[in-house]
Subunit: 181 residues, 2 copies
């Protein structure tokens, strides 16, 4: 499974969603095409899974968060790091976002999982083990606003300094209630 | 031209981007197919133009804004009204957003116009005739965060009460510097 996701990520980064071919992914990961389709009936399923595996990797990073650090600084750093990674491979990021949205339209339970787990990740990074409804709303707002910043960065090719400053200022303003300083 | 845009909007709302046919748009608007393609070489160009005409309509509404009203309340109401309209025709909204993003990827000058004019519209609605760089950043942040809220509403089918409350709270937190109360 990991080999499939790695091959998909590499080919997605190199070629973009449109030009990725399922049989090339099968070939590179050394599985039969029928096996690949059994796991992932479409490219949309495949790249939704790639996105989930990237969120899982972020989760391991969150486990190491310093519990005494300021929650706003922690969430800001987490989003800045994720953004830098994502903008290094814009075609893969675009493929994951389009696939996840398409999966949501098709009401795949998987895709809703992505959002639920990303919000939960942000709350955990902020050290909020028992979030109030207001905390959950703030987690949702920062996720949504980050989504808008990333989309603008990908589509309008905003300069990276502006993108990073937009993320810092959104975190500062939206998450002021979480600040300990 | 108006007839073409109206026919496209109606068919987009009824059928969604994939199922809209250029020849059906030509037929309903009473122009020859060659004429339609001369104005709009693709569906992507067509729905980017529909989005621009909707922004233009919002611009006339902004001209009537009460200059003594609180800027945050004005921007909030403007975004809430636009959101309600857009979520009444989710297939059309999706068609416009996908087309505008695709146009941006293809670096059509038109599509960048959409963003520039929407940001300018928000600043004008807030009564900021001479915006500072910080005001421009806040205008961009509220546009990006609203984009994330709308995308989530369309894709995850969030309940409308939650969507509206998310918009109110984002405006309150991101635009606090513009508040006069």
């Amino acid at each position: 499974m990991q080999r499939i996701l790695r091959a998909a990520a590499r080919q997605g980064a190199a070629n973009g969603l449109e030009r990725v071919q399922m049989h090339e992914v099968a070939k590179e990961s050394g599985v039969a095409i029928a096996t690949l389709y059994r796991y992932f009936p479409s490219k949309m399923h495949l790249f939704t899974a790639v996105m989930q595996s990237q969120i899982q990797r972020m989760e391991s990073a969150v486990a190491d968060v310093d519990p005494t650090a300021d929650p706003v600084a922690t969430v800001t750093e987490l989003l800045l790091n994720a953004t830098r990674q994502m903008l290094k491979t814009p075609l893969l990021t675009h493929a994951m976002m389009v696939s996840n949205n398409a999966a949501l339209h098709a009401t795949h339970a998987d895709a809703n999982l992505t959002h639920a787990s990303f919000s939960a990740l942000l709350l955990r990074a902020a050290g909020l083990s028992d979030p109030s409804p207001r905390d959950e709303q703030l987690g949702r707002l920062i996720e949504q606003s980050w989504y808008g910043v990333i989309t603008a960065a990908l589509n309008q090719r905003n300069p990276i300094e502006q993108v990073e400053d937009d993320i810092r200022v959104s975190c500062e303003l939206l998450l002021a209630a979480w600040s300990r300083s």
